[in-house]
């Protein structure tokens, strides 16, 4: 188990390296002089030269990357062109809403999708199954912002149960925070629950035909025990895999949702940075999201081993 964990962690390192290389080349791949690009539109030639020297743009490319990477590892991602503040600081200020939104969404998604898929499989081809999967198709085919606007109209504008937009930080109280992220999380969760519910249903349906489920019936176990302890647990690997994949798409959704609900998270930071062509900040946000994805994949890999003894090897 420890060896497996170490292997998975080591496997993450080359991926992170590749991602860094990509982020580094972002500035160099865009046509034109990176120094001009980084300096922004209204910079004087002196300023551009200063930037060129500060960012080592006069050095060979491989050396530039080595220097940039060395800084990045020490969490020095340069300064924002727009505000002049260190990128790490900007990201640090915006991390909380994004992490809260993603975590709440992920928990909601799993809580909706997995039981829904499992029960649909148990009641396959009945009205319960049809309704659940019909809901899944809707979630699947409607974009996040559309669902978000419908929910905002109903729950915020009409009934006033939840705020239309905005975010309450955690130090104003956990409940206030949850209240402020309910609508964005639910809109996002509805979309991702669909995919996960369908995959869960298909996997559980297969598992229910296995001989060990017949054994579970012959043992006199009740339906919940058979469904969740025997069938669902045995298909944990595909279900967790699709949750991991769902999370990758979720990040795109987070960016959209933060804009729709005006949540000051990394998604908003990224969108703002893109419109201002604030390259250091764009690089920083991409690095942040990539690190999050790699982390999630690591968690997924480690949970395989926790779920299925055959993976431990």
């Amino acid at each position: 188990m420890l060896r497996y964990a170490a292997q998975r962690i080591l496997a993450g390192i080359p991926i992170l390296l590749l991602v860094s290389l990509f982020i580094f080349s972002l500035v160099h791949l865009t046509p034109g002089d990176p120094a001009l690009l980084l300096a922004g539109d209204n910079a004087s030639p002196a300023q551009v030269d200063e930037i060129r020297a500060r960012l080592n743009l006069d050095q060979p490319l491989w050396r530039q990357f080595a220097l940039w990477f060395g800084d990045a590892i020490r969490l020095d991602l340069g300064n924002s062109i727009y505000s002049g503040k260190p990128v790490t600081e900007l990201i640090g200020q915006r991390v909380e809403p994004t992490l809260v939104l993603s975590t709440v969404t992920l928990i909601l998604t799993v809580l909706i999708a997995v039981p829904l898929g499992a029960v649909s499989a148990w009641r396959a081809n009945t009205i319960v199954d049809r309704l659940a999967m019909g809901f899944a198709v809707i979630g699947f085919s409607v974009p996040v912002f559309a669902i978000a606007y419908v929910l905002v109209y109903l729950f915020a504008v009409r009934w006033g149960v939840f705020p239309v937009q905005g975010y309450k930080p955690l130090d104003e109280g956990m409940l206030a925070t949850l209240h402020s992220v309910t609508l964005p999380s639910v809109s996002l969760a509805l979309v991702f629950a669909a995919l996960i519910a369908r995959v869960t249903r298909a996997s559980v349906l297969d598992a229910l035909n296995e001989n060990y489920i017949r054994t579970a019936h012959a043992k006199g176990l009740g339906a919940p025990r058979i469904l969740f302890w025997h069938a669902l647990k045995s298909v944990g690997v595909p279900v967790v895999t699709v949750i991991g994949i769902g999370f990758a798409t979720l990040i795109g959704g987070v960016v959209v949702t933060e804009s729709v609900f005006n949540i000051p998270g990394i998604g908003r930071l990224t969108v703002d940075a893109i419109t201002r062509r604030d390259y250091p900040v764009i690089q920083g946000s991409i690095l942040f999201f990539s690190a999050m994805l790699i982390l999630i994949n690591l968690v997924v890999d480690l949970s395989y081993a926790a779920i299925d003894p055959r993976v431990r090897g």
């Binding site: 001989n211 012959a218 025997h230 647990k233 299925d308 003894p309």
Partner: protein, 342 residues
């Protein structure tokens, strides 16, 4: 049968039909089976004749949506199983009836430890705490002679051999001291040497625990060695039934005769499959009102197709659905195997 005084399992007039309208399969037709206390009853017959369906019908495990089950009586020690609610059936399954299946490689859940799977059934029916159930699991693994039971308790199924897994299945089936063990071809998927060990284990446990066993098998060698009585099933009907001694020494149905003919002469050796009778099993979709074996029978006459043969009693405790039991016996009376049993 007359003196079936208080059988532990009493099945009478069991019929099972699958499917609706067009593709209908009459899997069982008016099946009677009695397992007496403490005995091993072997249920023998070719692949597809309905042995597993019989077991699943007794446990109430046939799919409700496709299977139609009729029975005059299915009782376990006087408790009605046929009309029982799902809840009360669940209290019987795994508790008063233990079941082991043909394929030990796939019958255990791969993601739970074997000890956990045994403990689970004990907790389900005995309501004991985790620790008691765990020590019961250890006790059961010892009982089925798994070496280093303490170490194996926390093993996962894929870490055990086929024979070991079948022992685990037996341990699980017996963990709640059932009155009846149903073993559906428990050794077919195993190596020949392991087969013998598992059968010996079942026979020993029956003796030590005083339980009754319904043993479903293809293998007449196994029947000769371990069973007390046998029921021969053909195309969803019981065609002959009696003690192993009576049936082997006085076979009275053409199908039994064919089965015995496919058994090696020494009679008691293993490796005897039933497929050697020429001809194919009839389709079960439209059972004719005739002896289902008529087309393959060496003793067939025109009368065999005139109706379903009535039950005759060639001897005490010996039942047979054949109109020419004496012709069958006369033909076989000089064969080695029959003489060996006389």
């Amino acid at each position: 049968m007359t003196n079936d005084s208080d059988p532990i399992l009493d099945v009478a007039g069991l019929s099972v039909r699958f499917g609706a309208r067009t593709e209908r399969v009459q899997a069982l037709d008016d099946v009677d089976i009695q397992v007496r206390r403490g005995e091993i009853l072997a249920l023998v017959g070719e692949s597809g004749c309905g042995k597993s369906v019989t077991a699943m019908a007794i446990l109430g495990l046939l799919p409700k949506r496709t299977a139609r089950i009729d029975a005059r009586r299915i009782t376990l020690g006087g408790t009605d199983l046929h009309g029982a609610s799902d809840r009360s059936l669940r209290r019987i399954r795994g508790n008063r009836i233990g079941m082991i299946f043909q394929d030990p490689m796939t019958s255990l859940n791969p993601v739970h430890t074997v000890g956990g799977q045994i403990a689970e059934i004990v907790r389900q029916h005995r309501g004991v705490d985790r620790r008691t159930a765990r020590s019961r699991a250890l006790e059961m693994l010892d009982l089925v002679r798994i070496p280093d039971a303490r170490g194996r308790r926390d093993a996962y199924p894929h870490e055990l051999s086929g024979g070991m897994r079948q022992r685990v299945m037996i341990a699980m089936a017996l963990a709640c001291d059932p009155d009846l063990l149903i073993a559906d071809e428990p050794t077919t998927a195993l190596d020949v040497t392991v087969q013998a060990q598992i059968m010996a284990l079942i026979a020993d446990l029956r003796r030590d625990l005083g339980m009754s066993v319904l043993l479903i098998t293809h293998d007449l060698g196994v029947v000769a060695e371990t069973a007390d009585r046998l029921s021969v099933m053909y195309a969803g009907r019981i065609v002959e039934e009696g003690t192993v001694g009576t049936v082997f020494s006085r076979p009275s149905h053409g199908y039994t005769a064919g089965l015995l003919g496919s058994l090696p002469a020494e009679g008691k050796r293993r490796q005897s499959r039933l497929a050697e009778i020429p001809g194919a099993v009839p389709r079960l979709s439209d059972p004719a009102p005739a002896c289902a074996f008529a087309d393959r029978c060496a003793y067939v006459t025109a009368d065999c197709r005139a109706g379903v043969p009535p039950v005759v009693h060639p001897g005490p405790g010996h039942r047979c659905r054949c109109i020419r039991p004496d012709a069958v016996y006369a033909d076989l009376s000089q064969s080695d195997i029959v003489r060996a049993w006389q």
